[in-house]
Symmetry: D2
Subunit: 412 residues, 4 copies
């Protein structure tokens, strides 16, 4: 395959070894001017050091973009997704999936601003992330050239990568070597942002085996979580949380705080075998402490404020919505269609949910709303003014009519 | 409304006060011969005492039916439902809903055998159960007359009921009076079977308030559950569990054993506001210990044995399937359609899941199957024989093509 | 049943015999002040004569409302529905169903303006229309009292109705008697508005028999339709038609003109057995000339301007959307959810469709749009710049991967 | 790309120029033993001449397979699909899509029987058929090597193809040259089988232009169709047609006969812009005379024999089912799931439909069934024994209850 000629390329750059190698490789193989984009999505690592690393590799200062996009991430990506109660395959809260489109969007914005004709990412050729990045790029800019080094180069082992780095004078952190100076094999592939941290690969690749306890970086284990429960309230407006224990918080601050609660109480670990869009099953372990709390709380506030049939239709559409996000179709017309339907239902989803947090459990212990549809007058067993029990007879009769007719005709 | 004339009526009879009053009322108001049907569904109460009570009220011995239908219940109702991973409104495992059709079916079978022309139940006029019973009756026998005393009579308070019972010489247990001899108001309306126990009504009718800890009859509280985790395995064949820790068990025995595990470890309590089919929201608290374990285990065994798209289609159809069961449509053509689709997928859902049970948590710690679709060769990050990373490029390109074309035409 | 006391009632009044009897009956039975509402929905009959009839029956002039709501009907009800390509049960274009909510809305508006506490309609107790009217009323005003005379009174034969009319001095048109002076049985029950005319009942009640040719009031028969085809264009913007043959027309005028074309060319007759919401199957014959043309044209303009997956999702949601309208849930949250999703897709559905009309056929012979997604460059068989045929290999490979893995593992 | 080594390859061979060139190319490029498979799917051309052509190109007699698979095609592919009332994008009856899986299956069967390690087809790299063939191959045999010459070779123009043929002594029919001896460009790409004939490409690639009347090979034009209507009956059992005008016919014979009727009366032409799975929109013209009649007839027999909710669920699942077939997923687990659901509903879909055929129109004029669910007693407007009009009140009240409660709480 002949390489396409590109002049400027915007690279999603973490500052780590792999994306540093990609940076160098883009300079060498494509002879391209590289623009680095480093995002603070709340992954918990400093992003500023990436600047010096980029400078060290010859990137012009004006070509280095380091952005804190945590608030945008939570407000415009995480919250809309949680309005849908999205879960992929019954378990996964889509923590990685939902971050990719925003990174794509920022790269494209930078590319358009800087006159770049290409974008590049560090996702491998067997995962979902390459798809998510690239559908994002192409969904937003159909002319952009996409460079996916992992699918192009032949640096397909740790040895070759380290050799390439060494040869090109790339600074290699000690952690990349074991005690014997051989290339260290990281036991997991990890990804983190404000919503979650994920673990994949290598030692997880036997679904019969439990991961080591020390793999989990964020949450306390169930056993180590406090022996005393903690109670919190979350307040909602238009389907989005805006306050914890009565204190109004910005989206990212709120999620950060929920993460703290969740981490303390061992909430939000999952360990699953999931179906990748590229066709194989894969083991994934995830910690989504705040998200796990939010899902429970959102369902609870919906339970008293959302119309029955709207709620059911949301539930029926949800798996498809979650799949679209998992597969990378955030910017697609069909995701936007579903979002329009979902958002239409959230106008009166407001009020406060009280939760008990205890050793991995998120227990709803109260819900209140000025827009509540729960009517004690109607749900009571006593006779009431509004509900005439005799109406139930007609209701059942007409709902059963097709069975009655079938019994008297077809099944006679 | 003129009462329809009926000669023989099959009553779903628990032996308790309310259905005893109904029994008497049917004899008096309809002048009908009453046949009692008492089912052992694993509710945990003796059913045999119902015989003497029925005899005491003048029921002929040959008109008393007391049946242990636990195995049929679990095998033909609970297990098929769990193949679908059915959950109503994101939370409820349908423990009451799934028992009603079987009771209906037995009543109709007895009616047909005994030449009865009517059936009757003790469900009230504001709940879902009346619908479930009656859609069951009419779905199976379109000619049967249905008598729903709670919608017909004027005994609409505890006082009136107790007075009626007293007047008619019905034996009233002490528990129906408080210390002052006044009618005792039971704080909850309960229903139990092998799958769950439910609590509704009265003191629960404020969704802002947590129920008393002593309401919960089956499970340990999270705090009281053991401080040590327990590990079990569940083995599956054709989507149904058949062994625990390697020991093969009949369906009802297996579910009973899972309940024991769940109760011990505080598993399976839920407290929700749900949407009733008859139109109002209602608070319900449920304990489904074994079911909660089964749901998790079934999803785990499916995660390694079920095709991706079959799994996703199941997830999309599930809310509708669950709603059909909740609403009482077990015997409907549409539930059978969905069941056919679901069962089609379960032929190779087999293998063993290992679970950790601990303080309300059911944690999947291992899955194994001879029919596993998990292929380490494919999921590894390393280059492999089968998967050519370059294929991903074409895959992404063609999936993005509609966006690219839109960018070059419509959105230009 | 005790009648609820009402003071003022807004009656959907056509001016015909049946609603005149209802008017009188409301005055007598409810002792209520009656407000009449007569709507011009394009049914093709004069509405003004209803004024004198109402006055003759003692209605105060200020209590008589005669409104031309054709434009609102087409713009806010018919067009949104056609954006969805809505068809009920594969055949029915919902001509009656879509008119009912607007009538309900107008009655409620008048009731609120005039301080009325009740509304009433002339639909029978076995049809869908009672449900549509009443769900409309109650969806818009939960306090309103609904009076459905056909379910209340005992005037359940033509004889009794005519006797009642005679006794109460209601003017009875000659057409209500046969040549012998006996009550005439109208062979069909009809309903018309700008979208369609419907025929139900009596002589149609054998689905094995074809209706008489003279039943059809609007369209030419296929045989009598012109032997020469006619070509027209329809232009769209935001998914709605706005011009015919280049001439911009208001919504109602446009639909009227399409009806003229359709009637001339024998377009839009259907004869079906449909499933009523109240439980039975019913035979219905319908003429929807303009609607049949619009459906074809809308699909054609969508075919070049709508994204594939948005189009497919619309198709999947359509049957549910159509069912909601058929069943009377226009004002429900779930219909609004679906509408939001549908409308989201129509922003670029614009352009012009050319149609050939000939003997019942609507043939699309051309589509053009400035927002077309059809790209000759891409659809051609020739090699092109954009589409690399080798990409198809990766696309197929990854889509097949789950089958390949299954072949190598589960199905080995 | 290095060519994979293969020993024996089963080629889907029509005997025409293109597949003859492929045959030769496989021999030369892969040095492989070629097995030819020629199927009679009712395309209307002799298949036997393919034998001599294959022999002429050096194929061993025992390596030549010519099979009449018309009955299998109609019985196991066409009929199951019509049980679903499958239509792609509102218009297309999937005539090409449904034939591909059977061809794939036969090729794999022959490959397994003959010990071949590869299969090959003549579909191009921009269409859907390559996907359908290859998903079929790989769905049935995960080890097979797939050779798609159009994606591999550089014979990407008519000139090169003809030159290659000439050079290799392949017999070239005169029709491949124009009057000047230059390569003739066929104006359309066509595909035919018993269900339909399709036209794509070249002169159709402007969706604003109507195709020439002489493109259509099967059906009379509307204008040329007889001026007199013809009436036929089709009889169904288990959802499949088995007799025309009372005469029992094998599946293929029945479809052939319906094609004759349809062709005569100008039935079943469509002209659409469709969305290909590989990402672009494409113009397609199709004639599906018998299929168009079958679709109408099947819906009509279902209208009196199928339960409402089963029918509606079928309608909701249909677009997805159709899409699966269009995209080539016939052998997938998800198509089998849907088929199981669909087939479950067809057990009592039996009876006879009477149709009027006239100038492109298929008009249902009667339906009869011993399993009819149509009950005149219920659908009549008169009061009846079974249906109590007062039941409608309770039915409406409880269906409206959520609106009433919302009005009294949330929307107060």
């Amino acid at each position: 395959m002949n390489k396409k000629e590109v002049k400027k390329v915007v690279l999603a750059y973490s500052g780590g070894l792999d994306t540093s190698i990609i940076l160098k490789w883009l300079q060498d193989e494509y002879n391209a001017e590289v623009i680095t984009f480093t995002a603070d999505l709340g992954q918990g690592e400093e992003v500023e050091p990436a600047r010096q690393k980029a400078l060290d590799m010859g990137i012009k200062p004006e070509n280095i973009f380091i952005l804190d996009i945590k608030e945008e991430f939570v407000k415009d990506y995480v919250f809309p997704m949680f309005r849908a109660n999205a879960i992929y395959e019954g378990e996964y809260l889509l923590g990685t999936s939902i971050a990719r489109p925003l990174i794509s969007k920022k790269q494209i914005e930078i590319a358009e601003k800087m006159g770049a004709d290409a974008v590049s990412h560090g996702a491998t050729g067997k995962g979902n992330d390459q798809v998510r990045f690239e559908l994002g790029y192409l969904g937003l800019n159909s002319e952009i050239t996409v460079i996916a080094p992992w699918r192009e180069w032949d640096l397909n082992s740790r040895e070759k990568l380290l050799a390439y780095a060494k040869k090109n004078g790339i600074n290699i952190d000690k952690k990349h070597f074991d005690e014997n100076g051989n290339p260290a094999v990281s036991p997991y592939s990890m990804d983190a942002n404000l919503l979650h941290i994920s673990y994949e690969g290598l030692v997880l690749e036997d679904p019969a085996k439990q991961p080591d306890e020390n793999m989990w970086l964020w949450t306390n284990s169930l056993e180590e979580a406090p022996n005393e429960a903690e109670y919190i309230t979350i307040s909602y407006k238009n389907g989005d949380p805006y306050a914890i224990n009565g204190e109004e918080l910005s989206p990212a601050t709120l999620l950060k705080k929920l993460n703290d609660y969740g981490n303390k109480h061992g909430i939000g670990r999952i360990d699953i075998v999931e179906n990748r869009y590229v066709g194989m099953k894969a083991r994934g372990c995830y910690e989504t402490p705040g998200g796990t709390i939010m899902l429970k709380a959102h369902r609870a506030i919906e339970s008293i404020t959302l119309d029955r049939e709207a709620a059911h239709l949301k539930d029926e559409l949800m798996p498809r919505y979650a799949k679209l996000i998992y597969n990378g179709y955030w910017f697609s017309p069909e995701r936007q269609m579903l979002q329009a339907a979902i958002d239409e239902t959230q106008k009166k989803v407001e009020g406060t949910v009280k939760l008990k947090l205890y050793k991995g459990n998120v227990v709803v212990v109260g819900r209140e709303s000025e827009k509540s549809l729960f009517s004690e007058a109607h749900s009571t067993f006593e006779e009431d003014e509004v509900y005439n029990q005799k109406d139930a007879e007609g209701f059942i009769k007409l709902n059963a009519l097709r069975f009655i007719i079938a019994g008297q005709t077809q099944n006679k």
